[in-house]
Amino acid sequence: MDREEQRDRFLSLLRPIERGLENYSRRMVFDRRDSEDALQNAVLRAFRAFDRYHDDASFRAWMFKILTNEIFAINRKRGRVAEFEIAVEPEEMEEFAGLEFASEMPISWETLADALDEELVTALQSLNDSERAVLLMRAIGDLRYREISECLGIPLGSVMGNLSRARQKMRDAILRARKRSLL
């Protein structure tokens, strides 16, 4: 494959996930002005390493991994060190797989619209780096647990634990919005 073909192939894989990458980057950087730098660095780095990318790997997961590394590097420069939870032991995984509070979820989401977005923004900001990264990789990047684990270099149990906690915090935000709308 010559250089031109390689570029075409790289761009054809990149374009469908550009929006997801941008959303992820915006929500992950400590300073939002860093988002574009992180994206540009990640894309150029990925293209330079594209000849080492194998067809059997998920391009989406690979790009999220590179972008996450860029984001954490930039955040570190800003004095924000990424913190990851330690691995969850296998016996603890059941706790994170279950539903803790689904019965309390609102029936009509539309009535919460404004209050809900406000609470969700606050809740998202309250997540630690690992919770936010895992939640966004799952919700925006559609990555599998295993892929998230490889991207972040953390055990599968940690992915599930972080995801469960992140979701719980977001659910709490929805409950707060529900309470506000009932006042």
């Binding site: 790289f10 150029l44 539903l99 019965s103 977001m170």
Partner: protein, 254 residues
Amino acid sequence: MKCAEVRKFVRLYLDSELDAKHSFEVEQHLESCAECAGLFEAEKKFDERLGRFLRHGQMTRPFWKKIEALVAPRPFAKAKILWPLALAASLVIAAGTVLVARSRPLDLANAVEECHSAYVHQITTPEFSGAVPTKIAQQFGGRLDTAAFNYRPSEPGFTSSGARLCHVGGVPVALILGHCAETPVSMIVFRKSELDHFPQTKRKLESGDPIACSRSGRYQFAARFIDDHVVCIVGDRPRPVLEDLLKTLRRADG
């Protein structure tokens, strides 16, 4: 599978992380248990709403175009790199066009060359001097006036030997024949309204140039507007000399 077990696995089921066997068991239970199905639906809606919130945000197209250009310079991007060369080539072409245009004689200069050449070779001679004879005036056909024959340079170097009616490119003109430093010089005068027959010269004179100069064959040519006439001087004399003659033109009846 019992309710407690299903609730343990339903989150994995929603994330498509359960294997086929467990997925099938969860689905079977949800079909038969209204309470678990309700919880499942609520969680599914939560996922959808959260996903909508997290995925919300417009893509910054110009930014991605910039990144893609860095990754894959397109033909136009290459063209951008070559723009100094393209600009230089354009300038050369433009300069060449101007030079060619400048070196190409004006249409009116071409037209009067034959007339003057005939005078130089004594094929054409003056028909009259002084006032325009009635017989000749009758041939104007309303397209020329006697005033056209009254222009003379006040430059003392010019001497007139007479005039005659002539046609240049189908346009009736006053041809005033004379000499400048013993060199034959012709003056051609016609109505400004006839200038449409010579569009190049018209453009040149109407572009603001007070005097339009050109060269046709071995003769220099200069033209200008005076009142409602176009006055040209042609001859084998330096261009500035012809321009000076034009600048000092006076109409005898004016």
